[in-house]
Symmetry: C2
Subunit: 199 residues, 2 copies
DNA sequence: GTCTATATACAGATAGAC
DNA sequence: GTCTATCTGTATATAGAC
């Protein structure tokens, strides 16, 4: 049941950094959240910057992948696409603030990306490209299609406060709205496929 | 040719706040950018917060609208949709950092949205709804469709550093990639319309 | 209106006892 | 490893001369 101090710090730092961003976060707040002393943060991680980078690396790795598994399964193209959409939407529903935090952090400091694995998209692009070659998806640029797909999944979360206000929805109404998102995205995607569904 | 001090401050504050966010921006940097003294900022705007809110209000108003004009023109549904996409993509190309700044700012402080006009989306939704009723667009939830449309337009800009890195594109390659975006988005949208094009 | 100089507050980081 | 106390830098904001 004992949680190590380091783990407590990491949990606390994740919460505060994701909520407040690097500039907005206070070491004192992280210490309070972890129920330890401020000095201990510097004992475990030398500086705020080092702590932040540690958290960011950790979080970034949850951001993109987990899709590889879906791609490898024996499924129709459309089922795989649905698996990808479903995977992202689930992750986003559980971590609604994560994407804006990551995207903003990389905007503030693009150098961060240099240390991130960049092969992850290759499988996705290759999969889409393959589906197009096999005439299962209509002729679209695979990279562009991928960004459209991701945009449809991520944007409603990234734009949460603006979108819910503009659509005149309360918090709970917007949550309900997002629950219907998967079906609507799949409707769009199905229009981009030929009727070769071999499920 | 004379630019008022207030205008210089606003220009400078826009640049610094959009680049660094509220927490990251320094009043000193804004003063330097405006080539005036720090104390003058407080003379014109009482506090950093007040200055920020002024800038945010200003910028938010450029964010959403400008679309109304397109809607009122005598055009086919598809041409109107193309006008909307084109309008956003142009604006985004000229202000690539604007959306992430606005979205992040509202995430940090959702109360900001309370003072924003929220009727702007109504026209868009009504237009989409109308097109569906008239069987010109396939049966989709209008709000969901709108978010998909906006997601496809905004996401590649909001996710710039992540996306360009993941797609293994240099800055200039990514810019070129974004130039091809309109065509690809319209391909998707055309698949969502019936062949009733009366252009 | 615009400046210099300063007050005030608080952040990140360290020293050193335990 | 963990704490209290403190150093140091720097940010917002104000006072007051011009």
């Amino acid at each position: 049941m004992e949680v190590s101090t380091e783990e407590k710090i990491i949990q606390a730092a994740e919460k505060i950094f994701v909520r407040d961003g690097f500039d907005g976060a206070r070491m004192q707040d992280i210490a309070n959240e972890a129920e330890i002393n401020k000095a201990l943060l510097h004992y475990y991680f030398r500086s705020k910057e080092k702590l932040f980078e540690h958290i960011l690396q950790r979080k970034m790795k949850d951001f993109i992948p987990r899709i590889q598994a879906v791609l490898r399964k024996e499924m129709s193209v459309m089922d795989k696409l649905e698996g990808i959409v479903d995977g992202y939407l689930r992750m986003l529903s559980q971590n609604p603030r994560l994407p804006i935090f990551l995207l903003y952090s990389t905007y503030r400091n693009p150098a961060i990306m240099q240390h991130m694995p960049h092969e992850i998209f290759r499988d996705l692009i290759a999969f889409i490209d393959d589906a197009i070659q096999k005439k299962q998806l209509k002729k679209l640029d695979p990279s562009q299609f991928l960004l459209s797909l991701l945009g449809m999944c991520f944007f409603p979360f990234v734009a949460w406060p603006v979108a819910s206000h503009m659509l005149e929805k309360s918090e709970s109404e917007y949550v309900a709205f997002l629950k219907g998102r998967k079906v609507e995205i799949m409707k769009v995607i199905r229009e981009l496929a030929y009727e070769t569904d071999s499920s």
